[in-house]
Every structure is written in C-alpha cells, then in structure tokens.
Amino acid sequence: MTPESAGPALEVSDLAISRSGQPMIGPVSFAAAGGTTVALVGETGAGKTLVLRSLMGLLPAGFAMAGEIKIGNNGPMKTPASLRSELGRRISVVLQSPFTAFDPLRPVGFQVTEGVLRRKLMRREAARERAAGLLRQMGFEQPDELGKLFPNQLSGGMAQRVAIAMSVMPRPDVLLADEPTSALDATLRVRVLELLRDFVRAQGAVLVMVSHDLGLVADFSQQLIVLYSGRVVESGPAGELLARPRHPYTQALIACTPQLGPAGRRELPSIKGSVPSPLQPITGCRFAARCPLVTDRCRTEEPRLRLIGGAQVACHLAGDKAEVAAHD
C-alpha cells in the first residue's frame, strides 16, 4: 500500500460504544496520516481497550458501536462485521501478551504465514520469503531455525517480536496494538516500539496504540488521545500535549508519572479518589470529583472538546489566562 497523499490514511469519525443501549464510551474522532502513530492513553476503566476492540470489529455481546471508520480512500465502515472482514488484511492486531497470539500446538514458522496463506493473499514461496525477511528485521538471524520452534520455547520478548512479524505479514494499512510492550522487560520495550515505528513508516500504515504509560508512548507517537472514564478529555499532537497539557487530568497524569531526573526519594503528586466507571451516570465533568481546580460550572455542565492552541481539550477552565499549574 502506498502512502496516501490525498486524505488521511485512517479516519475515525464519532466512534461511540454503548452497552445495552446505555452510552459508555466516546465520541472518539481522529485522523492520521500514513506512517504515523496514534496513542490512546488512559488508565484502567477508561475504555481504551474497548475502543481498540471496536476498531477490530470484535466487541463482546451486549455492546454496540456507532460511527465510521475510513481506511484510505475505501468506503466508510460502520459495522463490526465489515471491520472484522478486514482483520488479517487491511487491519492487523498486536496483543499485550504475546503468548495469546499463538496456538501452542504448532510451530511459530507455520503460524506466521498461516494467515496470509489462508486468505490467499500471497503464494507459499512469497509468504515464506516475506516471513523470513520480517523475522530478520525483528533481529532473528536464523529465521528458518526459529520457525521450527513452538511458542513455549520462546521468551516473552522473542514471542512478541514474532507476533509483530506475524501481524505485519499482510501489509496492513492499520495496525492496532494493545499495550504491546507492557509484558516485556524495559530494555526490550524500546526495541519493540522502534520496530513498530519502522514498519509503520516504511508501509505508510497507521499504528493505533493503546497504553497506560504516557512517558513511553511520547517518544513514539505523533498524536495522543487521553481517555478518562469513557470520554476523550484531551487530544492532539503528542509534542504539544506533553509540553503544554491543558486538561487537569492530563497534567496530573504527567505529574504523577515518575521520571528519571535530578530528584531522589520523594513524595509523588497523586490524584485522590479513583476513576468512575464509564457507565456511571455523572452530571457535569466526569473528572470534577477529583479535580483540584473544580468550579460549580464543572459539576453541572459537561465540558465539550474545544480547540485550544493546537489541541482539543474538554475543560471549562482550559485556555483561560490563569495558568493551570500542576498540583500536589
């Protein structure tokens, strides 16, 4: 697939997820050019995994989705079935735990090529060559030997790299990654993210990555979308968001993430309380109960996303002259 020059490579419009008729997550909208990475950031219960699953067309029973997904110049997809049919073709998935991506009873070499062969996307010889090439890119010098191993013979890091090779076999336009590095050791994380980024650039594909680790994705994403309790609270260019976060939640999240720096033993800034479930009906801003800057308006009126300085922010107070400072 060649990088698109006209229009975004991936466009998600008003993606909303509901459970049994009750609105739960969204709306989520973004557009990404080919070769870029979008990071969905949020904590447990924010709904980021469900957003990713809806992009795969794999929502569990009881959940419904609304909105449109457009890949390149193709027609918009609105139903889970239409998205599912693209899995293994235009859309590919990398999961958190590498071992769940594999059938424990077959050698990995077979599994890497199985998808494209079954869908008749490539001939056997071409598939094998491509697989060997990808595995070499992932750092394996002897792909044929590796291919004979079974999943349980691989370490976590090895398995994740093979899983990524498996996902990019069909040359997908969209790669969906659910916390692809959280099960890996620190030194491997950077390596794996670099591999993902390199593939995406070379392919002109879009990587949509879910993560709870703001700091880690910062270096590898061009766009950030911050989710809180099912709503987008801030979204925009990664550099902008991290340098000048405008939503109190984003600021708090950055403040309480430990970073290596000059400071030693210390108390960390934290957010009191816990995240409300996306299903819980709340009047006004969903972060109001924990926000250090809360006003009466915040408790009654839910803020909408507004464009402020290059980013979309859902906060009544953002953009005011008074600088919202990091709190303790």
Binding site: T44, A46, P60, A61, G62, R84, Q96, P98, E179
Partner: protein, 297 residues
C-alpha cells in the same frame, strides 16, 4: 518473570462483565434447576409411594404378579405380591443413602490424599499417588465378588467398598488443583503469617477445591448408584430386608415376558436418578465456569 506475572488486559469496566455473567447464568441455571427438580421429585415420590403403598416387604400372595392398577397396586406387584411402587419408593431412598454416603466418604478421603500430596509434595506425594495407581489397577468387579465372600448384605460395608473403588478421581482432582493454588500469593502470605501447613490446607486450599469436588461428586453419585444397583442385581449387594432397586430388577428379569412392570419401574427410577444427578453436576459446573468472551456481534 514479568511476562508471566503480568495480568492480562481484561475487558475494562467491571460492570459489563458482571452483567453478562448474570444474563448467561440464567440460561445456565437451567441444567441445575432441571437436575434438582428431578431429584426432588424422586424424593417426594418415594415418600408418597410409601404412604400409599405401605411397607415394601409386605407380601400378599393373592396379588402375585398383579398388573399395574389391580388390587391397589399402582405399579403392579411382584411374584411374592410385594407392591412395586412402594418398593421403588424404598429403593429410591436406599439409592440416595448409598450415593450420598459414598460420595461423602470417597470425597473426604480423596481430598485429604490429594491436598496432602499436592501441598506437601516430595516422597509423600510419590507414595500417595502410587497408592492411587494401585487402586486404579484393581478391577472393581472381582474385588466385589471376592469381598462378598466375606461380607454379606450390609449397607455400611457396601458403602465402604464402593468408596474404596471410587476415591481416586477426587484425589487426582484435588492434587492438580492444589498444585496450582499453592503457588498463589495468599498461600505464601499465610505461611509468612505463621500459619501451620495443616491450617493452610484447610483454610486456604480446601475452599479452592470445593467447587470442583461438588461437580465431581454429583457426577460420581450416579456412578455409585449404578454400582449398588448392579451389585444388588447380581446378588452381591443388598438383599431383603434392604430395599434395592437392583434387587427388584433381577427378580423382574425372570418374569419379564409375563410381568414387564416388575423390572421396568425400578429401571426407570434408576435411570431418572442418574439423569438427575448428572444434570445437577452439569448445572453446578456451568454455574461456576468462567464466562468466556460472550461471542461476537
């Protein structure tokens, strides 16, 4: 190893998962309700049957081999004039007694062996598991035949014998489960709290196996029933004065062409009992099984 300890990314929002479980549980409880209904109905019937039909052992040669409906015998009478319905009622109660006692005994012994072997490991594990292997290698029927030469017509000894034949599945299950559970953090924490191993086994390991044991037990109840009936049928189990379904069936076998009711009604009762226990076992298993991602839309 961080790769293995890291919890899976599960579906976010505890609410949806629980609600799904509720919806599915309602349909799954179908098996359990059906099983309990069947067993309950059988018990009620056995009580009613005894009230209506009188004592099962009461012989009335005048109504020998009376067909169903004649002479006050709803299910007919056997060659000695005994009321089939009240015999079936008594037999159901006997079957229940045997099933419950056998399950209780073999589960208790099997659990003790299994948890002990799984938790303490080492040579004890090896010895106990070899004991289980030996047990399994002894064919039950020759064992019963041999035992019947010594022990005759006694409910308690029959229960013990059937339990001896049936404890190994419980032990194996408990051992497997214990091997998993003893790796859990709370077991280590209990040791760090100063608990002795025995207390840990009872407080922390035993509750973790109860569900599986309940499922196995309900299924094994049917097996125990069939053993008792089969042995009584062969003349090795329970004879009068005990009231056994198997005994009546062996009698009925002799007169099958003239008086089909003597063998059929106890046979039917036996089948229903086994089905009832199996449904109950299935039901318990379905109720507690993890809710696998409920399908795609």
């Amino acid at each position: 190893m961080s790769a293995i300890n890291m919890p899976e990314a599960t579906l976010e929002g505890a609410g949806p998962v629980r609600a799904r479980r509720g919806e599915r549980a309602r349909s799954r409880r179908g098996s359990l309700t059906a099983g309990l209904v069947v067993l309950g109905a059988m018990l009620v019937f056995s009580v009613v049957a005894s009230i209506v039909g009188g004592s099962p052992s009461h012989q009335d040669l005048a109504s020998a081999l009376a067909p169903p409906g004649h002479g006050g015998h709803l299910f007919g009478a056997d060659a000695l004039g005994r009321d089939v319905m009240s015999w079936v009622g008594g037999g159901i109660r006997t079957s229940f007694e045997v099933a419950v006692c056998v399950v209780a005994l073999s589960a208790a012994f099997g659990c003790a062996v299994g948890i002990g072997a799984g938790y303490l490991g080492g040579w004890l594990d090896a010895v106990l598991m070899r004991l289980a292997d030996i047990q399994l290698s002894i064919p039950p029927l020759p064992l019963f035949i041999a035992a019947s030469a010594i022990i005759v017509n006694n409910l308690l000894t029959l229960v013990i014998l059937i339990s001896i034949v049936g404890w190994v599945p419980y032990a194996r299950l408990c051992r497997a489960r214990t091997l998993v559970l003893s790796e859990r953090g709370y077991v280590a924490a209990a040791r760090l709290a100063g608990r002795r191993r025995g207390a840990i086994a009872v407080l922390h390991l035993l509750p973790g196996v109860t569900t599986e044991i309940a499922i196995l037990g309900s299924l094994q109840a049917g097996v125990a029933l069939l053993w008792e009936a089969g042995l009584s049928f062969l003349g090795l189990g329970l004879q009068p004065p005990y009231v056994s379904l198997g005994f009546l069936m062996s009698e009925g076998k002799e007169v099958l062409s003239q008086a089909w009711w003597v063998a059929t009604f106890p046979g039917l009762a036996l089948a229903l009992l086994v089905v009832g226990f199996n449904l109950t076992g299935d039901g318990i298993r379905d109720l507690f099984s993890p809710d696998v991602s409920g399908g795609l839309r």
